[in-house]
């Protein structure tokens, strides 16, 4: 927690200093480890999943709704986390579902960040009418809860991975735009930008090479929070039947599938995908919390 262990004038690179500050929280390190593990599992899904959950030929209906730890009828496989209503191995379904959830979260986050940062910096730089109109739109949109905006869009767009990414980008861009604008406004007035201008550098170069990197920290903080939100929102929308098609089950859809079995006590179909979802969101939030403390100059001592 306390930053006074650091030497007043350290000659290490900023990255080393950054890491030292980040690593001060055990909880954040745990979160980072969990996050990296989740990403690794999602990337390696085809190689580590015991079963291909999309290959209907591999599924055995006789194995449906088996509790965790059951052995498959064929005797080849143990269902460590049980099976769902179609005899699908839950562990495999979760590993693949994690892939979909993370992909949707990362893709929508990256697009929304680029779009929002671009518009926000442009608004700060151009000012005037463009700035006014853009910020008005941002204010209006942020006045509504994300779930309502996403609901409107998905009701209109229908289901699909691309559609949910569009809806999530539409929900998130405003946060990035507002953050980027205020960061850019602060940075624009600083001396190094004046110096760069004095050197006769082009406007584009100043914005991309000098202003953006310095405006990045708040964007990174907003980014971690938003990606966690996006993953949770996608799961929620998929649970409501508005997000992803059933052919590409994300964690939210897996939980929804288990809902009908819950009342008869077959908890594993809903509970385990939820644990995976919780672990993912929690790990991002833990990392994000620490990033905010490390990158916030107001808290620096």
């Amino acid at each position: 927690m306390s930053a006074n262990a650091l030497p007043a004038e350290s000659r290490e690179s900023p990255w080393v200093r950054f890491w030292a500050q980040f690593a001060q929280s055990r909880l954040a390190l745990l979160g980072l480890a969990l996050l990296l593990a989740t990403i690794a599992i999602a990337l390696a899904a085809p190689w580590i999943a015991p079963q291909n959950p999309y290959d209907l030929g591999k599924l055995d209906l006789l194995d449906a709704r088996l509790p965790p730890g059951s052995v498959a009828g064929s005797g080849e496989l143990t269902y460590w986390l049980g099976t769902d209503g179609q005899g699908r191995d839950m562990l495999s379904a979760i590993v693949y579902g994690l892939r979909v959830s993370l992909y949707v979260g990362a893709a929508s986050g990256a697009i929304a960040l680029s779009l929002g940062a671009l518009l926000g910096v442009a608004a700060a730089y151009l000012g005037g009418r463009f700035d006014q109109v853009l910020m008005r739109i941002v204010d209006i949109q942020l006045g509504f809860p994300a779930i309502l905006v996403a609901l409107i869009l998905l009701a209109v767009l229908g289901r699909g991975v691309d559609k949910i990414v569009i809806a999530l980008v539409a929900v998130q861009w405003a946060y990035y735009a507002r953050t980027a604008r205020s960061a850019a406004l602060v940075e624009r007035g600083k001396e190094y930008i004046e110096a760069a201008r004095g050197l006769g550098l082009s406007r584009l170069r100043i914005v991309l090479r000098h202003l953006l990197p310095n405006a990045a920290p708040p964007l990174i903080v907003v980014g971690t929070v938003q990606v966690a939100h996006a993953i949770a929102l996608e799961a929620t929308l998929s649970f409501l039947g508005l997000g992803l098609p059933t052919t590409e089950p994300s964690l939210g859809l897996l939980i929804a599938n288990g809902y009908e079995y819950l009342l008869s006590g077959k908890y594993w179909i809903s509970v385990y995908p939820g644990v995976a979802l919780l672990a993912t969101i929690l790990s991002i939030n833990l990392v994000g919390d620490q990033l905010r403390d490390v990158l916030n100059p107001r808290l620096a001592k």
């Binding site: 509504f144 009701a155 809902y259 939820g274 929690l282 939030n285």
Partner: protein
Amino acid sequence: MTVFILRRLLQTGVVLLATALLVFFGLYLVGNPVDILVNPVADEVERARAAAALGLDKPIVEQFLLFLRGAVTGELGTSFVYGRPAMDVILERAPATLELAALAMAIAVTLGLPLGLYAGLRPDSWPAKAIMAGSIFGFSLPTFWVGLLLILVFAVQLGWLPSGGRGPTVEFLGMQLSILHWDGLKYALLPAINLALFKLSLIVRLTRAQVREQSLLDYIKFARAKGLPRRRVIGVHLLKNILIPLVTVIGLELGSVIAFAVVTETIFAWPGMGKLVIDSIFQLDRPVVVAYLMLTVTMFIFINLAVDILYSVLDPRVRLAEAK
């Protein structure tokens, strides 16, 4: 102030029109409600008759203009599914949603404020750390999954509370409310807790952050230096100042609780507006979806307006006329 409110009202009109346009034409493109409403084996004549009865035989632009003409007089169309005015269908369900939202918000504030105060005043004590760890959990737990867990534990395993539906109600001011009825309250408890959890974490974190920021400021030091009792410093000086941002957030969150009720109502089969709109989206019942969104969007604009005005009353430094 007047200019500010007028400008806001104008903006409300623009946002409502944009929402109506988007939803109206979007749902038109998604599918034909006749396909869902009419018996699949019906012949062309029967389908045409059904389409004419619902006003769906006219070109979409004309349908939209007719809708707009009705909307100006407060008439938002007739539900395709229920055959009654869409607004009536929605308003019938409103008390169920509102009581759920109110109960959830009450739980979140009555628990969140004291917990946040404690965590902010003694940040290094172990209960404070436990509260903060709990709030990160509350933030990270997906609401709908918590709802399932609540059902699993309290309804299926323990059998203490019902798993869904709405219990007996009591009539109050013309509304059917279940929180005033002992058995009805049992039905409302799980969904309300589910809905409250996220807001509770939010209020705890916000209160703590505010307390920590404010207690370093000079006016607190001064109040303490004057020898005021600790209770008065916290209860009057500190609380007054942390309430300003809290009121904003609580006001805004009240609206978002109503919007988020969509999820909780679906899980607990709570017959409110949220469940209605989800069902209506699947049934392509355009008038109900459009009317619900118009209603919610209007509600949000007014909540935002009310919060802005309240803000200026609580904090004299905020002047509305200057806000663009």
